[in-house]
Amino acid sequence: MASTTEIYEQDTTEFEIEGAFDTDKLVHLILLMCASLATIVVFFIIFLLFQNAGNFFRKVPLEEFLFDDHWLPTDEEEPQFGAYNIIAGTLLVAFGAMVIAVPLGILTAIFIAEIAPPKISKFLKASVELLSGVPSVVFGFFGLIILNKYIKEVLGAPSGATWLSGSIILAIMALPTIVTVAEDAISSVPMHYREASLAMGATRWQTISKVILPGAISGITAAVILGLGRAIGETMAVLMVTGNNNVFPDPITDIFSPLRTITGTIGIEMGEVPANSLHYRALFALAIVLFLITFIINLTANFIISRFNKKLRGELKSKSRNQILIPEIIKENKKTITYLILSILFGWLLTNIFDIINAVIISLILIGIILVLRIISPFKLEEYKFLIYFYMLFTLLAWVFSTWFDWETAILMCLALAGFIFILKILNPINQQRVVFSIISIAAFISVLSLSIIIYYIVSNGLPAITWEFLTEDSEDSGRAGGIFPMIVGTLWLTVGAIIYAVPIGVAAGIYLSEYAKEGPITKIIRTGIDNLNGTPSIVFGLFGLAFFVLYLDFGISMIAGQLTLALMILPTIIRTTEESVKSIPQSFREGSLALGSTKWQSISKVVLPAAMPGITTGMILGMGRASGETAPILFTAAVFKQKSLPRYVIQPVMALTYHLFVLATSIPDSDTQAAGTALVLLVLVMIMYSFAIYVRNSYQKKKNW
């Protein structure tokens, strides 16, 4: 009898690899290529921006461009390209927005995460998310028609188009970003911190302020930075409400001054310049400045977020050598740096009020007083530091107020504020919590209210315009009559096209990042690329689309150019949601499949992807919502205001809801009702997509029981 071993030995060829072809390797390669695309696009955008700016900087010196304030690009004799006011305007309007949005956003986030009862909290979270989808042109429309009128008539500004209205609108737009990210950071502080603190008899507010907020601080910082990025990169709303005057507010606190921003300038002027003229190049140069600003903002935000996540996972060793030094330095000298910044501000304020010499003398006297105090006082200077901060801060504040009201009122207001803070400090913990919680609740209420007012206005003004004809007919009389059927169709075409191009690549890239990428330099570069693509302002995409699809590839102003531009813009959203939902599929599914003899790709395509499908769908719908609400990317690539027929080929231009609304609101008088109707249709369209996405995600989270 032959031994079993011998029999077996004859047929072990069945364990062998067949042929040289390995599907898994091929799949790996294809996915890697898709993932790299996002990074390549970022480099390509940078390259094209510089290429199209071309010899601009040789003709116009950089100092003139950055520090001169004469922007006269169309002057026939001697065009001038001083962008100082424009760059300053961009920063000022974003700064103003942050002054409003940061406190409101953070307080709202605290409210949602820590204070509101679960049901309300859930509702608020969903609404804020939903509102992040409101198209910027709808905000712009509201600002132009309502807010500006209010500012002019009630606050008595000479014109409604002001820095203030730009900042308010931007603040409302940045709110959802800030609230969502900050709320995430706060909620992810582990529960046991809370319990430990409460168990020691701390009030909830003490727990929040002493334990939770410090724990979430880097996440909250990231929220603020991302909000800032959004505000700086925003185009349509700013363009519509700020007046676009090339002036610098005088005094610098004059919030009723009109402003001009980089995005607004590009948005207005790019449509009218001949390609490759000096003016055209100047606009690309502006775009480079914008891109650099947002690039730095994105890098900072991502750096902070990744550190925060590492800290949460406990991966961050307290003093590892690999850490970049700068943040450590900042952390260690936080007080000194605050002190320094405050002193500089204070000094600058003094020079504003007095002339330089007096300012220096006053500063010297102040320093002298501090020194004397330090020497003769029985207390250490440390104990005064707080007071000194406060003193400086309130002087600054008093000065700002004084430019708005008279001196007496300003000082009274500051004193009242200081008194309030003082009283709050000496209240007993329970009452303190009461007061603080009411403030937080009011802030949350204001956030929600401001967003609801806009929605309410659009709905109540838009509804009368909605008729069957409005939805099914073409416009007449430059949009003053008739309907918006071709625009609806155009928007749908653009959106669907964008999705068709973006989804395969985005999903592939997401799969690559979650299933194949090993942590290393290549993955890092890819991730950085995607993050930056995500934060790139939509107008920059518009310029890219113009330079590459419209001009270089010679598609002309066409549907396909718009679709491709939009596709690039929503690519990061799709990549991210795919990556996240694929990552959330438990490893045991993959092992179960592999243990049955499947290849890696089989286990991904047959088990992991179907399970991750709801998540991927969510990303897809969010991408659609975003694509259908954007104006800036199609401004120079695809959209026209009037066209004889529906586009039949992808190389024809299209009409779109966003662009139609933009033109109606800014250039066609007496079209308010039609505009509001268009805004309503656009809003409903986007909201449907967003709520569908949120619904899919939530019901999937509820259902998932592995």
Partner: protein
């Protein structure tokens, strides 16, 4: 017993080991044999010079304290460790006399012959029907009639048919824990493996579900070879024919279950079995 003494004991064992294996080898119905198997997770030497055999149509149990490398060992029998980054294997594991870590061997195909059941039941989030036929389908079986037969046979074999025959299209995630684990067994049976590896298959189940699975393992012996990792010594004693005791990455003692439990040759084994450490 302190750690130093334990490690010293571990060192003395290797010589007597080979003798045991020779004795068991006599029957020449060996299906898996590992020789000088070493495995590292980065710098962690998780398996140290393992020599062991598995006999056809028998149940082999692997016991030992937590972290001693049981899962690692069983996973190296069908190359499931390949998936783990930084994992390095040396030595050989022969399946039917062929080294599965050798040249030109496809891990996918090995896993078709050596299936695996995991600690936590892991049915795929699809219907019971799709779960069972997942394996046959990825192995390119398309004949409808054959698929139906496989479905019924494997579910019957796993003693699940009667419980699920009316709800084959329902999601497998709706089953109870014990049912899910039997479903996973049926899913593995559907690809008709020769060896079934089980890594603590009952540790997340209640006593009744556990008893059912144990009974099932006993039935499986007729057609399959079973290797089972367990923390539960009574379970090992009840269901296995051979037992391997591992400690700190080494195979301390390997022999017939009766002998291991009634007359262990090594002090460490005895201490572990009598519950003096664990």
């Amino acid at each position: 017993m302190n750690l130093k003494v334990k490690t010293k004991l571990v060192k003395e064992i290797s010589e007597s080991q080979n003798a045991d294996i020779e004795k068991i080898k006599a029957g020449n119905d060996i299906i898996i044999e590992c020789k000088n198997l070493n495995l590292w997770y980065d710098d962690n030497h998780a398996l140290k010079d393992i020599n062991m055999i598995v006999k056809k149509n028998k149940v082999t149990a692997i016991i030992g304290p937590s972290g001693c490398g049981k899962s690692t060992l069983i996973r190296s029998f069908n190359r499931m460790n390949d998936v783990i980054e930084g994992c390095k294997t040396e030595g050989t594991v022969e399946f039917r006399g062929r080294n599965i870590y050798g040249n030109r061997i496809s891990a996918m195909k090995i896993r078709k012959y050596i299936g695996m059941i995991f600690q936590k039941p892991n049915p795929f989030p699809m219907s019971i029907y799709d779960n069972i036929l997942y394996g046959p389908k990825i192995h390119r079986m398309r004949d409808k009639k054959k698929l139906e037969t496989i479905l019924k046979n494997s579910l019957e074999m796993a003693v699940l048919w009667d419980e699920v025959k009316d709800r084959l299209k329902d999601s497998a995630l709706g089953l109870s824990g014990g049912q899910q684990q039997r479903l996973c067994i049926a899913r593995t049976l559907a690809i008709e493996p020769e060896v079934i590896l089980m890594d603590e298959p009952t540790s997340s189940l209640d006593p009744i579900a556990t008893a059912k699975i144990e009974e099932l393992i006993n039935d499986l012996k007729e057609k399959y070879t079973v290797i089972i990792v367990t923390h539960n010594m009574q379970q090992a004693a009840r269901i296995s024919d051979y037992t391997a005791f591992m400690y700190l990455g080494e195979l301390i003692e390997f022999g017939e279950t009766e002998q291991i439990f009634e007359n262990p040759q090594e002090r460490l084994t005895e201490n572990y079995i009598t519950g003096r450490f664990g």
